[in-house]
Symmetry: C2
Subunit: 292 residues, 2 copies
């Protein structure tokens, strides 16, 4: 059976089924990051990649590609309530490519690293017979009491998203800012039940959060914070928003909304619905699937 006949979630299920871990592993595949114990601390581990012809085009600025490559992984660390630490970078690239492309890529990686306090500690550079591949592996740390996984949502929880959704391909997918400060503020001040970053679109990522939490969900389509000119469908399905979606208990929602406005006056926080008892997908159209 071909990968494109199966779909991304089923592919991941097939390859993770046989994995076995020792007792150090707190969270394995299936969340935004893995979580392992390292000495007395909790470490987050994430890997991600961007591929020429899939996530960017030949004519895309290499600097923007570097920014995007690292910020995608930082967004996943943020989605667990963590703080990024160290990254290692793999680049496979044709020997016919200009050195300047690679140094521009690293300028973008460096810029993101400096902005978010990441050390680029190493990497691997290899030949590619065709497109450029860039893989970023990023570590982070998280305090036990601030850790947020996808599976902690409870029936009745309010659902919030940061920022606005949809239309990312017009440019935001290359220049977005991972919601690291927002995540650290949220987890310092409130007990979040569940969180995920919106990389494939609300229409894919919300069902993942609800499924992991063992709940259903309902959303108020008229409340969705859309980027200018975007339809509800685009807000659900375009993907690459890199905003945070999180669930909190109903009784902290009011204070959270109030405090958020003082802490992040420029960035909207929108209540979009709630987790429900009823299972099943209430969305008309899923977000981006890598294989379909």
């Amino acid at each position: 059976m071909k990968l494109k006949e199966i779909g991304e979630d089923a592919v991941v299920e097939a390859i993770t089924r046989e994995l076995r871990f020792d007792g150090r592993v707190e969270v394995g595949p299936g969340d935004d990051c893995a979580l392992v114990r390292f000495g007395q601390n909790l470490q987050l581990l994430k890997t991600d990649c961007v591929v020429e012809g899939v996530h960017f085009l030949l004519e895309t600025s290499a600097r923007a590609v570097g920014w995007k490559a690292l910020c995608r992984a930082i967004s996943d660390i943020a989605a667990m309530g963590g703080d990024p630490l160290d990254a290692v970078i793999t680049v496979a690239i044709s020997p016919d490519r200009e050195l300047a492309w690679l140094t521009d890529l690293y300028a973008g990686l460096n810029q993101a690293a400096a902005n978010y306090g990441v050390n680029l500690v190493g990497g691997e550079t290899s030949r590619s017979p065709g497109p450029v591949f860039i893989s970023v592996a990023l570590t982070g740390k998280v305090e036990k009491e601030r850790l947020v996984v996808r599976s902690g949502g409870k029936i009745g929880d309010r659902l919030y998203v940061t920022g606005r959704l949809g239309g990312s391909l017009r440019g935001k997918h290359l220049s977005f800012e991972p919601r690291l400060a927002e995540s650290r503020w949220l987890t310092e001040n409130f007990r979040l039940h569940a969180m995920i970053d919106l990389s494939d679109g609300l229409g894919s990522d919300l069902p993942r959060l609800a499924k992991a939490s063992g709940t259903g969900f309902e959303i108020d389509f008229s409340a969705l914070p859309k980027n200018e000119g975007c339809s509800v469908e685009q807000a659900l399905a375009d993907g690459e928003d890199y905003e945070l979606l999180f669930a909190v208990s109903d009784d902290v929602g009011a204070k959270l909304e109030q405090d958020w406005k003082k802490a992040f006056p420029e960035l909207p926080l929108t209540r979009i619905g709630r987790l429900t008892e009823q299972k099943g997908d209430l969305l008309s159209k899923p977000g981006y699937d890598h294989f379909q």
Copy 2:
């Protein structure tokens, strides 16, 4: 200027020149692994990749590719005296590829993970417009007193290699065993000055160790442990041996050789030369360069 006009070491130099680290980073790019402080412990970080058409062919067993992909990174952790812990895997693959190829790849990754005590804790699967690209990021830990870097070699040190060199493409490059037990035994019992794993070939990797140590070197070509049917040139230049090359002071060499025979009776350990005062490359032909 194109990458192929420059060569791998100069490319790495160009992209690592601007990197800035905070005080947690003990060893940055340029050694087998990066070394960072994490809480009270020292963590090793390595990333590596294998690319279809470069490191393996379409007809190569996917299981062997998975084994190789993880074992290459384990070999680098061993080269620093460390113990591997957790890996995250990135795979970019065409949607037209069979699911069985991917599950076979993971069978090989799993086999290597089980053999060497690694947790496969997460990954990313993406579409590729062409070749399959697999990147492995691996963490490890190392006790401070057992850490071995490339730069600690001293003039007069004896140089040893494990196993036999050359001819790896005949099969060993897909089925090699990273010298993890050997490295852990060596660093437990002897104070090694410098170590590197032979991935690009002795002809490339020995000059790197000597350069990092600020020394020259001389080797006894007649002493090189060659795989059957291999010339000296092949032992120097074929690459993908994944053996350990290390430097120790002259006065521990005799005991080390004696004890090695008892600990690893099946695996040769060969004294191949020494580190010298005179700088400069005494080898006729370098090993594998990714861009030339």
